[in-house]
Symmetry: C2
Subunit: 516 residues, 2 copies
Amino acid sequence: MQDSIYSDYPPPLSPAQKDFLVTTVKDWTAQHGLMVRPAPSFISKESNPHGVLATNAPVTLFPSPFPRSCFEEAKALQTVYNQLYAAITCDEEWIGKIMEDLIDVDDFISNLWKVHQDVKKEGYTQTLSLGLYRSDYMTHAPPSSTVPALKQVEFNTISSSFGGLSSLVASLHADLLNSPPGHPIAYPSHPLFNSNVPPENTAVETLSAGLATAHKAYGPSKSNPDLPTCILFVVQENERNTFDQLALFRHLTKVHNLPVFRLLRSEILNHTSIADSNPSRPLVYSPPHSPKTRFEVSTVYLRCFYAPTDYTSERDWEARTHLERSAAIKCPTVLNQLAGCKIVQQVLAESTGPDHLAHFLTGTDPATINRVRATFAPQYDLSSSGRGRELALNPETALNHVLKPQREGGGNNIYKDAIPGFLRSIPETEWKRWILMELITPPAEAKNVALRSDGEVLGGHVIGELGVYGTILWDQAGGKVLHNEQGGWLMRTKARDVNEGGVATGFSSLDSILLF
Amino acid sequence: MQDSIYSDYPPPLSPAQKDFLVTTVKDWTAQHGLMVRPAPSFISKESNPHGVLATNAPVTLFPSPFPRSCFEEAKALQTVYNQLYAAITCDEEWIGKIMEDLIDVDDFISNLWKVHQDVKKEGYTQTLSLGLYRSDYMTHAPPSSTVPALKQVEFNTISSSFGGLSSLVASLHADLLNSPPGHPIAYPSHPLFNSNVPPENTAVETLSAGLATAHKAYGPSKSNPDLPTCILFVVQENERNTFDQLALFRHLTKVHNLPVFRLLRSEILNHTSIADSNPSRPLVYSPPHSPKTRFEVSTVYLRCFYAPTDYTSERDWEARTHLERSAAIKCPTVLNQLAGCKIVQQVLAESTGPDHLAHFLTGTDPATINRVRATFAPQYDLSSSGRGRELALNPETALNHVLKPQREGGGNNIYKDAIPGFLRSIPETEWKRWILMELITPPAEAKNVALRSDGEVLGGHVIGELGVYGTILWDQAGGKVLHNEQGGWLMRTKARDVNEGGVATGFSSLDSILLF
């Protein structure tokens, strides 16, 4: 059944149909802000010296079929996942043990842990913690299966992106499916299109509501005299995915009526301050365009600091520590970021040893816990001899696996037959930096056509990844949960011959879904 | 009073303030579709082969002060102006007389007139006619005056553009004035900003409602068997102002739920047809992306064919004739386009001879007619000796005038001291192609800062031009008016040292207004 859905999808396009779709998508994206700044490889700085140009985000021309059961399951489990990662973050000792091994070999993890230790020594002044999460899944449909299963690829606890753009892609595809009103002909006809549109996508509303809830929970100004409070987005230099962030910015401003500012990572120490004299340590922001005005930051929303490349000097670690020790609610704290390391996912998925999952989800009914567990793909520690090393070094079993670095931020996965050779090429002491994960088998016949940001149109076999957004606000002192919501989703679709790549790097496209 | 408003406006910007405003405007425009396609002089076809790039429309950083009395007067007179141009269009004989002189010397006018004559010979099958108009004004404030006066620059009866983008500029400036909510600091403080935002701009709603009203008035299909009806936007090749048009397209689709298509001028004869066998001559459109589907065009909305450059071959005239003879309601008809020639404006403004204005506005109270008349700047015919030639050839009086070609579409105005020399350089038989108009004296101290589409930021003295939109649907057989509305406005601001230029060519910027 599953294969038959994918095998004749999408319907073939005549040159005129393709032309119409591509032109319509190019215009729609620019009209609705489904845009990115062009990569320097596409448009050089010299030909665009003032950085005014924008281009479409990479998008598929068609929504992708997705099993309704998997979609509903991912949504149903999101608040449980939120709770799980909040509970893990509250268990500092447990995280510390997990990190112990890594600290020796991974500077990034080691530095993050040090930030936390330093602030802990001084004492945290803010116990509320905000998570804006995205849990990423693939459908697992090996030839033997009859019903597709939902398998988690990763769980993002920092800078979970594309919520702003993904709701726009759903609107784009919905508009195409209804175009023109009453007589839809933008797409060739196909049974999947009959009275079907992508499910509602409330990513912008959900993520914004998370930030607004934290802002409100922060309460009155801790400064003397009182200052107006604001939310601060901390962002990267040369960010190309600006319009994704601005969708949340706009919603917070227009719907929640809140002051929001964007600040470059490199400018944190220039424009924010914490008065030594105030033991509450409110974070005060002076906008450079109005230096006499001061705001107190209720919530720091990090859209940077997730990858080692975001820390180019000691000053960046200083800035991170500065934010961490402030009274602002962090989205996320360093501990919450560490809870998102792939090693945590692997430890949770371990089939031998203590049942960490049940431990962290105490109070959740066992059936639900088992549904969460069912989303784990088998994962293995490589730090010592055992099942993991066996599977990785055997060329036959390696074919069914991927080797992932424990660090966040993607990149450098090693696939299949490359695994044994790669492991032998690095010192055994470094193997613990890697996690072996059983490959998920997505629908073999899935196909789509994508419009890249440089305007190239590429079609072929694809792999889709569904992300589901959730937000949680909790008190790190005691673990009380103040807000726990799911809402909104992201479909990313990449060409099957590409093993890896984030959307922003152009190897994959934003997509939406049609449930079947 | 007026001068004092302008003399300290806009407030000066520090480098950080300018930086913030420019960055914010660049991002806002891309997020909200306040965009144009980049000019080839900025980004070459080679570096953007698939045409995906977009850039901000040229916009001012600040809204411009505008006298409330002039704004209200322009709005109050718009439906009267709508009625005036409908009445003129109904008087074919009167237009014919006006055109008589021009036909010899102006191929463009001559060809338009011929299209009308040809269709008239065969017999029009559609008597309803739709006007989407924009009346453009400047405020006239010579040093002697105490109260600024409203003076009409031109009245556009075809392809009145920028309604879609101008409402976005009003939103942009309103957002900046309120940013962040509760503590506005995007702009330096200025008395004009206190609790002030640009007036509501309903250009998209008004223009779309005009098109939707015509669509409805067209009634049921005249084809056999019945076809679904649609609105057809006919557009230029290499249009850079696409997103302005798409704002109306989206509103018609999303709010009025109507099928709308865009068709290139050069493709009219390829994809539309009129069956010889059907005496009603319904215009049938077969979308190239769905060639088996056929729609009957209720309303043809021309965003082309307004300038001689839109007719590159006999085939273009054939296409125009094809549309004109069809049963579709034209926005506008050839006659309505001709009514918008500058010579008509000049004849209406003539202070000697018959009172054409009163004649066409029979039934309108004399006070209102005089208010319309008060918006005319003195204009003179140059076809024969008289006051016009005197003023134009005298170097002293020429300084207070502009020489305008009678054709639509702008371009090639001759200013002040260049007038006598120019006239002497062309044969006297061609003088009748030009109209001499007294220069309007806009506020001398008006200043603003503009972000061009290539990212350059330019500040200085400016001249502003306010356009007010109106729509009218009438029956050409008898003149009965079925719909007459005003709504929405456009502010265009250009550097004062630039005498001429449409927004799309980059010499001037879209703007909004703050009333005082």
